[in-house]
Amino acid sequence: MKVRIKFSKYGALRFIGHLDVMRFFQKALRRAGIDVAYTTGFSPHQIMTFASPLGMGLCSLGEYMDIEVCSWQSSEDMKRRLQAVCPAGIDILSVRALPDPVPNRKVISAMASVAAASYAVVWKEDGRSFDGCQELTQGFLAQEEIGALKETKQGTTKVNIRPGIYELRVEDGALVFLVDASSSGNIKPSLVTEAFLDFAGLSVPKDGLQYIRLEIYTDQGSPDQPRLVPLEEMGVLF
């Protein structure tokens, strides 16, 4: 059975990299006694995939990992067992079973099904917030073109990121937005934030902002009528 695990990452664990998180879970699953499926061969490894790696320094309330298990009791049991072996900085938020793949249809991994992601950006410094920028968001979104420098394999190119920004608002002092996170059109949260700061005429000291990933979405609609749903909703409790 394929299982989708949603977890958060915060505190000092902001400073461990994506590969470190993978290595952490490989061992955590064993400590928790979860009956994970392995590949065959001389050095078997766990069948495990992750959705959109999180950049160094970011927090998240919506990280995802898919694993395959051979035996299980319940979502609740698996969640409890895994949580018990996690240190401060990683919490298991939900454990759900993914439906069996329909014959002749490609199995979609956590990685491949990502369409969008939402972020909150806040000031690290006490007492500072985006509260005063409420009115500016409409003007920002009204722009037809928002230029940003995007790093690609060929070097940096100037791109228009406006079509990839689906929502942007100020909420509880944080700048909150939903952007394209698909493999073809992925927009880094820092590009949106920098463009907005620029638009608002604000300057921030280096590493003065904390980025928090809130959720990762898949698109269950059609090309003309997208319907974004959180990755966890593709699974069911068991």
Binding site: S8, Y10, G11, A12, L13, R14, F15, I16, G17, L19, D20, R23, F24, Q26, K27, A28, L29, R30, R31, Y38, G41, F42, S43, P44, H45, M56, G57, C59, S60, L61, V85, P87, A88, G89, A120, V122, K124, E171, D172, A174, V176, K206, D207, Q210, I212
Partner: protein, 633 residues
């Protein structure tokens, strides 16, 4: 909107953590790291491995002591490693004091800073640790406001080149005397004593403790030691190493700390025995850990299971100097293979002799096509192997290789040393010839249709460095030029072989070996060179990318210390060595006998064949009290 906690409670601000390589090195909080309430402990101890995190975290000794200390209710033991050069620069610029990983508290505020000394080339990193911590580099300049700095580990068997930097050395195995030392510390503090009174009492009352400042060294005109004596009565003339005789009940970490970032040793390590029966004459570990003490099979089975459960590691490795000599190896390996198959854990079996048994096991636990066989003949000719007392014969190597080729292996690694005592050009050519014979053997034994790609031999040579407490402690070491010439000769000889295309030859840097030679047999006067080199910017000398031979040479020059005095000079029978005040169990008379036998190319039997009377039997256990082969009863 509920946001997660991102408040920084670390010693380094986000800005710095995000600008250095692998910030996970500095945040602590790893799985199985121990946290205690500082208000509820009496003693804060910080254990240091003076190299980068990924290396230090792979070291078993620290994990054992960390476990032991943290089992004590009154002690909180934390860890610290050398900040990498990027953070080193920032900490100096911004005057950020070195901190322990768990509490993130400054090292300077601890009661003890314990530094493990695993190799000589970490000596400048010791100074870095002290410097960044804000602890005066020289013991004599320290007051009561800084931790007691303790050294331990293999290099403390000749602590003299770094003696002025330490308040105290703990000589021998850490499991035995620390409790007594810590109790003394508490007692001394309660009685209003200071650092000096503690060190004095430690030297007098606690076994295995060497306080360098309490000894006086005088020299002859020729620079050799005239006398090495305690400055005051009650301080022992000889410090005997500490040793654990019952390893089964000694503390062992069933839940070692697991690094987030990939450690060099990303696996659980099962120590099966301490010591080695073989007595190779170049090997220090083979002497200082005498006598061999094995752990019981039941202990090992229980520990292996507990460690796998406690860590979730995907690999287990055996640790010992020579695993093949462990009495219950077959049963242990059978058990591990069974368990690991069930748990999908990989097994790695280093230091196994190549024979039918080990090949059978390796064939089951690794991919034969991808793995290679390792032999360590150490010398190219039988004569020289007899000199160094390496029991491996050419016949055994060729037999092992033939078996392995039949089993599908086609890659062979061979390790040799250059510059061994009595070595001739013929011995060096023997290295190339042995490689050639192995290639030829492959073509002879494996029919064309069964060949699994071309055979590949990788021969590596390191340079021989005489070490204290070995029969070669009297031997002259080669100069840098001689080393390079020998490496050139080896390369040339390899090229002359018929099958040279299938042989790859690698050799070590000679510069580092020369320095290692100085530190290995150096005395107190060498400390000023280390200090000078550090001040000139030497750091991470074990790393090729940061090693600065030119700065080291300048430091020697400025301190007027002659490298050749410590390396190339042949020592006489009567010379007092800087490490003679230590008693590691084996005595000098036995070592001298072995040195003489070496010069006659006479081999000595191992401890199980017949006892050589090395002196280690006085510890009252281990292999010395097993029934010997062939002996009645």
């Amino acid at each position: 909107m509920q946001l997660p906690d991102f408040k920084n409670r670390l010693a380094l601000p986000d800005r710095i953590l995000l600008s250095v390589d692998k910030p996970a090195r500095y945040i602590g909080g790893e799985v199985n790291a121990v946290y205690k309430d500082p208000e509820r402990v009496n003693i804060r101890f910080v254990m240091c491995f003076p190299d980068v995190y990924e290396i230090g975290m792979s070291h078993l000794g620290i994990q054992i002591l960390y476990e032991m200390f943290n089992r004590y209710e009154d002690v909180w033991c934390e860890r610290v490693y050398s900040p990498w050069t990027d953070l080193d620069r920032i900490m100096r610029e911004e005057k950020i004091p070195l901190f322990a990983l768990e509490s993130q508290d400054p090292v300077r505020e601890f009661d003890f800073l314990g530094i493990t000394l695993q190799y000589e080339m970490c000596y400048t990193n010791i100074l870095q640790i002290l410097d960044l911590a804000g602890i005066p580099l020289l013991s004599k300049d320290r007051g009561d406001d800084v931790p007691i700095v303790i050294g331990g580990g293999p290099c403390s068997y000749n602590p003299e080149p770094i003696a002025p930097f330490f308040d105290l050395f703990y000589v021998g195995e850490g499991e035995t005397a620390y409790r007594q030392l810590l109790d003394l510390y508490k007692e001394n503090r309660a009685a209003g004593g200071d650092r000096n009174s503690f060190l004095r009492r430690a030297a007098r009352e606690v076994p295995g403790m060497y306080v360098p400042s309490l000894y006086e060294v005088t020299y002859h005109k020729d620079g050799t030691i005239a006398s090495f004596l305690p400055k005051e009565p009650g301080v022992p003339e000889k410090v005997r190493k500490e040793i654990v005789m019952d390893l089964d009940s000694a503390p062992y970490p069933e839940k070692p700390v697991i690094a987030y970032t990939k450690a060099v040793q990303d696996r659980v390590v099962l120590e099966i025995q301490r010591g080695c029966i073989r007595g190779c004459r170049f090997c220090q570990a083979g002497q200082i850990y005498r006598p061999v003490r094995e752990k019981r099979l039941e202990t090992l089975k229980r520990t292996a299971l507990a460690m796998l459960e406690g860590t979730g590691q995907e690999e287990i490795s055996l640790n010992s100097l020579s695993s093949s000599d462990y009495s219950h190896l077959e049963e242990l390996v059978d058990f591990l293979m069974e368990t690991c198959r069930e748990k999908k854990v990989n097994i790695s079996l280093p230091s196994l002799r190549i024979d039918a048994f080990s090949l059978d096991v390796m064939g089951k636990v690794q991919d034969v096509k991808k793995s290679s066989l390792t032999f360590a003949p150490e010398a190219g000719s039988q004569r020289l192997r007899d000199v160094i007392n390496k029991g491996l014969t050419e016949e055994a190597i060729l037999q092992g290789a033939a078996l392995a080729f039949a089993g599908g292996w086609s890659r062979v690694k061979l390790y040799f040393m250059l510059g061994l005592p009595t070595e001739t050009e013929e011995d060096i050519r023997g290295i190339a010839e042995l490689c050639n014979k192995i290639v030829a053997l492959y073509y002879e034994t494996v029919p064309k249709e069964k060949r699994n790609g071309p055979v590949q031999i990788v021969a590596s040579t390191s340079f021989f460095i005489p070490k204290p407490f070995t029969p070669f402690q009297w031997a002259p070491m080669c100069t840098r030029e001689e080393f390079l010439q020998k490496a050139g000769l080896t390369r040339h000889a390899v090229h002359e072989q018929l099958n040279q295309k299938r042989i790859k030859y690698n050799w070590h840097e000679a510069d580092v070996s020369v320095l290692e030679g100085v530190f290995a047999r150096g005395d107190r006067r060498v400390a000023q060179v280390i200090l000078r080199a550090y001040q000139k910017g030497c750091l991470y000398d074990a790393w090729a990318e940061t090693f600065r031979y030119d700065l080291w040479l300048a430091a020697f020059e400025e301190c007027q210390i002659d490298i050749g005095f410590y390396t190339a000079r042949e020592r006489g029978k009567e010379e007092i060595f800087p490490w003679d005040f230590l008693d590691c169990g084996v005595n000098k008379a036995y070592l001298w006998r072995e040195w003489e036998r070496a010069q006659r190319a006479e081999v000595s039997p191992n401890c199980r064949q017949s006892c050589q009377g090395c002196g280690a039997a006085r510890f009252g256990g281990g292999v010395c009290f097993e029934a010997k082969e062939g002996a009645a009863g």
